[in-house]
């Protein structure tokens, strides 16, 4: 309830700025958005995320600035936690982002930064994006680069005593093309290089005898795993560098009373993970104030090359014989996720209906883990409410 109050009160605060800021007619335009999303899944994870966003821009002069802040309250008693005999776990994450952009003629340059903090994780990212309008504004070339540094630790232990560092460099390029009076196509390419430690400090893996491992079924329960595994557990270890390549495309078409948007992303990295993500959203307008849409998303990925749901090893006093690279992170395993959900938007402004808007969205997702321990599928639900205010 406190978090809900935080989100709503922040929107009200941002909205209240209107009174003091638009006394004189101005080309400066403001938009503030408050959002609350609630996630729950069949693996006993619940996340409540209130957030606020604000953007101010002057289209005549060509500048804009934006900021956002969110709080993630995550409560978990998932199989990973229960299987490691850990108690129920709760954590709060704070994340903020700032951005600014300036356009001059056909050129634009933007800078952005973001930070995410929780007691055992700190992430800082900064980036620059430049763009150039081409072909009488029928095409826009965009290039960006960013640097990020993540620090992972253990709750209760200062980062100065124990931490794992990860550097991330991203180079991106994209085009925004006007195909006709109602269609745009935007291909983009990202190259991401990561250097550092990506192991999860809390994650320890069971090991199995070579004769037993083939008999450990995917999705085996914690009891079955404990009955078959060797004594002791071993910490995760993954390669210290990772190249990621991403090719993405967005196709948007405006019909008379609806908008169809298709997104697709192809992904490959040096750990051997290949993925495809497709997203569809078709916004159908019901009069001037209401619109509804179905939303569908499908993600499929292979596992990393060193993924095994049952690692073979032997732990004896003084010696450890285990695979060099090993992970229990299901995010790195072969899986697919299908998501489907509806959305509703109500614009209820007076002069311009979009001056005030309320958005309600819901998603139901099914994830199939094809080669993981403890779990072979997951159902999840996401509910979102957004309230936005635009003014000049």
């Amino acid at each position: 309830m406190q978090l809900r109050a935080l989100g709503v009160s922040s929107v009200l605060t941002l909205t209240a700025l209107e009174g003091s800021l638009h006394a004189e007619p101005s080309s400066v335009r403001w938009q503030s958005t408050g959002e609350l999303s609630v996630y729950h899944d069949s693996d006993a994870i619940t996340a409540v995320t209130p957030s606020v966003r604000a953007e101010v821009r002057d289209p005549l002069v060509g500048w804009s600035a934006s900021g956002s802040y969110l709080v993630d309250v995550i409560s978990a008693a998932s199989v990973d936690i229960v299987s490691s005999a850990s108690p129920h776990w709760q954590e709060v994450r704070h994340a903020g982002a700032l951005g600014a952009n300036y356009e001059h003629g056909e050129f634009a340059l933007g800078a952005n930064g973001s930070a995410s903090y929780e007691p055992d994780y700190l992430s800082l990212v900064g980036g620059l994006v430049g763009s150039l309008e081409l072909a009488r504004k029928n095409a826009k070339l965009e290039m960006g680069l960013s640097y990020g540094h993540d620090t992972a630790g253990r709750t209760g232990t200062p980062f100065s005593v124990y931490s794992l560092g990860l550097d991330r460099y991203t180079l991106g390029a994209g085009l925004e093309l006007v195909l006709d009076r109602a269609t745009t196509f935007s291909p983009a390419f990202d190259a991401i290089f990561e250097s550092g430690r990506q192991e999860k400090p809390y994650r320890y893996l069971p090991l199995f005898d070579a004769a037993v491992a083939p008999n450990v079924a995917a999705g085996a329960s914690g009891e079955e795993v404990n009955a078959l595994r060797l004594p002791g557990r071993v910490a995760e270890h993954t390669p210290d560098s990772r190249f990621r390549w991403v090719l993405a495309g967005r196709l948007a078409h405006r019909f008379q009373r609806s908008t169809l948007v298709l997104d697709d992303r192809l992904y490959r990295d040096s750990w051997g993970l290949t993925a495809s993500t497709s997203n569809l959203r078709w916004v159908l307008e019901l009069g001037n104030r209401f619109s509804i849409w179905p939303h569908a998303r499908f993600h499929v990925q292979s596992g990393v090359s060193f993924w095994r749901h049952a690692y073979v090893g032997e732990i004896t006093s003084g010696t450890t014989d285990v695979p060099v690279n090993r992970t229990g992170d299901r995010e790195q395993s072969p899986l697919w996720t299908a998501t489907l959900g509806p959305g509703l938007r109500w614009d209820f402004g007076d002069a311009d209906p979009r001056d005030y808007s309320l958005v309600l969205e819901g998603d139901a997702a099914y994830t199939r883990y094809r080669d993981a321990l403890y779990i072979d599928h997951r159902w999840s639900w996401l509910a979102v409410i957004q309230l936005a205010r635009r003014f000049q």
Partner: protein, 66 residues
């Protein structure tokens, strides 16, 4: 790779139509904008549950995925 990207860009540019400003009413509709369906909570949840990332030119925030 650079040559391939340049060739692909030229090919895509060749597919562009010349659309004058007064013909852009549909293109300017808010639902055509890339950020129209942004949901901060959903974006982060997907990022921590999947192995893939990226696909937007702008920098994205890091995630605490312990």
């Amino acid at each position: 790779m650079v040559k391939f990207a340049c060739a692909l860009s030229l090919l895509l540019l060749a597919g562009c139509a010349e659309v004058a400003p007064y013909q852009r009413a549909r293109l300017a509709h808010p639902t055509m904008a890339p950020g129209d369906d942004t949901v901060l909570g959903r974006d982060h949840m997907q990022a921590v549950q999947e192995g893939a990332m990226g696909g937007t030119v702008a920098a994205s925030s890091g995630c605490g995925c312990n």
